[in-house]
Symmetry: C2
Subunit: 400 residues, 2 copies
């Protein structure tokens, strides 16, 4: 969506501070003049804002400028690696994880633990997560950073703009407000669906580099126990009328095929979900046997394992053909647990897309590019931390 | 998308004139005070703009006000039915059609003729269409209206913001610019894909009534010879990265099924496209045998015809289940030629959606509503005319 018109001086100030930070994030180190040139404000106005951001610890100076630049080198501005930081957290079905990211996008601390969260009391799970968060916050403060926001990824549906989990079937949660169960002293708390955060993590991978911009419109597949997706259109998540968009796992792949837990038949999840893939590979799914158990077998060239992954790829390619024909994205990104199976999974995905989408889409001659997310299963956790950072860069007024 | 911030006095004036017109369109007859109350501007400012719009012939007065209103009745404002009008045109595979719509949304003239446009020269087709447009324009002027814009619906892909048809496979056109082939004296010319105009026609059905607002997010199926769709999200068309979004007809319904002209297999079009349905009903498709030939047989209860339409409904329901799981729209609207088969087509569509989407979408208890468009096969033509009117209401400065 376009930026709404600024309403007040405070909002204009906030927006301009944010533009300074984003310019330095993308193209830093930058001089004050370099910032002014990029954002189209006067050098005087930029200097005032830069001073404010230096005092608040969001920017730091280094100088003199890089050799080889023309003219007298000035001091250069960088985002601080000792100022505010973002905390990302992930509630998985069998693990909890927390990471601390500085304004430069570097992971500064990372903690995780196994957990049996399936059908657990939310209070118990959140106690454990809060313990991890406290330890991470201590490490953070010791490193000279201060927590400026917390974003929590959950495998379920979150009521938009709230901290309430409407449904998380794999956890057994329903209408559970996490707000009061999380530490209140780590900055503003955001709770968001893990597939959405995986996609936003991908979208914002270009936050710190103008060279590495993610495409603005893509389908991001997020496979853990189930299969979800997030659709990004022009840099915005497509959430759907009720917040339920992205249910790629229940797209019919073989309409008269296997019954699915959803009540339908032949859904993608029944062919490419974790349990289906493990069973197809002759393994018995369980807390100790996750998709990761298959990577070694694929690397070793075990035919049963390879066939199971290729079949999942074919099913995924069929479902994605439908999505691509409908949405015409710039790119498809496979994230989550399936991202590790790229060498075996992507060829059948690409084959189905080539067969089923090129001519259909008005004669496009090459199929949509499909890549495995470099973040892989870390996507939602890193996406959560990036979300917290992005919130600070977008609205530094709360910190500056 | 949110309205961008106004840049100049001229733009602010344009926007405010448009707000006056939209207020009167939605809720007229309205007094000047009524308009001022609805749009939040002073009565003085509104009066100046109303006078301007009266002079330009976009508004007319009627008075005194309706009885039963409190206080002294003032004159009431209405959109003019003798001012500027919009022209919509449709290039079909075997017909041409033109309609004239006044600012109140009433069709004031309508002309159509059979034509053999498949594999025809664009120049020949556009000559015939221009003839129809001239006759319609004459009728328009005789009725005291003046053409203020022309929107042309084509069954193909149009380069966004241009009058160039990139590909229209059923016409055999490729990279054909229609701009120079259309009359230049009917106002600004817009060329747009027919499925998009069908959806916009639906979206803007609420333009003249605040009671009848269409949902802001819906999937609009547009079936003529092929099957297309338009996806509307928050009141905007989702066009896709290359303008190819909405290819519902090539969503895989039975992945190992019938070969499709697109090179894929088991696409929706091979089960619910016109040719497939006619063949399934034992008819031989051809220029004289179109889907309309089946409605009578369905009404008469012919088992073969009913079975053919029901099978198409099942395939459509499977494809739409994928679309609904992915997009979570408020509503699904079936437009175009299939809209006439509602009583026989919709039950299997709804059955598939109920089986395949309710539990999947986070436990939504009722499936997405599916309706047949009241515009039916007229959707693209009426959508084109509404598009021309809407352009005038949005930017009256060119006319006022």
């Amino acid at each position: 969506m376009a930026q709404p018109a600024p309403q007040s001086q405070a909002e204009i100030r906030q927006r301009n501070l944010s533009r300074v930070l984003h310019a330095v994030a993308e193209a830093g180190p930058l001089s004050r003049a370099g910032v002014a040139g990029r954002i189209g404000l006067t050098r005087g106005a930029v200097s005032t804002m830069v001073d404010e951001l230096l005092r608040a610890g969001l920017l730091v100076e280094q100088g003199p400028g890089r050799s080889g630049t023309v003219g007298r080198p000035g001091t250069q501005l960088l985002l601080s690696d000792r100022g505010p930081c973002g905390l990302g957290a992930e509630i998985g079905v069998d693990h909890l994880a927390v990471c601390v990211m500085d304004l430069r996008g570097q992971v500064r601390a990372r903690l995780s633990q196994q957990a049996h969260n399936r059908q657990s009391e939310p209070g118990t799970v959140l106690d454990a997560l809060s313990g991890l968060l406290r330890r991470a916050a201590e490490q953070t403060v010791a490193a000279g950073l201060r927590p400026a926001g917390l974003t929590v990824a959950v495998p379920g549906l979150v009521a938009r703009g709230t901290t309430k989990v409407l449904r998380a079937p794999n956890l057994g949660w329903r209408d559970t407000d996490l707000g009061g169960l999380l530490p209140a002293d780590l900055g503003p708390v955001v709770v968001e669906n893990e597939a959405n955060l995986g996609a936003l993590g991908e979208l914002w991978s270009g936050l710190w580099s103008e060279q590495e911009r993610a495409p603005g419109s893509f389908v991001h597949v997020s496979a853990e126990i189930g299969i979800g997706a997030a659709v990004v259109v022009d840099g915005e998540l497509l959430r759907g009328a009720h917040g339920f968009a992205g249910e790629l796992g229940h797209m019919p792949v073989r309409p008269d095929g296997r019954p699915c837990t959803c009540g339908g038949r032949g859904c993608l999840e029944t062919y490419a979900g974790e349990e289906a893939v493990l069973r197809a590979a002759g393994l018995r799914p369980g807390p100790a046997v996750r998709l990761g158990a298959l990577t070694g077998r694929c690397e070793a060239g075990e035919p049963v394992a390879l066939r199971a992954v290729r079949r999942a790829g074919t099913a995924l390619g069929i479902a994605l053909s439908g999505a691509v024909n409908l949405l015409d994205p710039e790119q498809v990104v496979i994230g989550g647990a399936l991202a590790r199976f790229g060498p075996w999974l992507l060829p059948p995905v690409r084959r189905e897309l080539a067969r089923r989408t090129t001519a259909a889409a008005g004669g496009r001659s090459t199929p949509v590019p499909v890549t495995a997310s470099p973040l892989g299963p870390d996507g939602p956790l890193l996406g959560a931390a990036r979300h917290a950072i992005r919130t600070t860069l977008d609205a530094p007024g709360g910190v500056a």
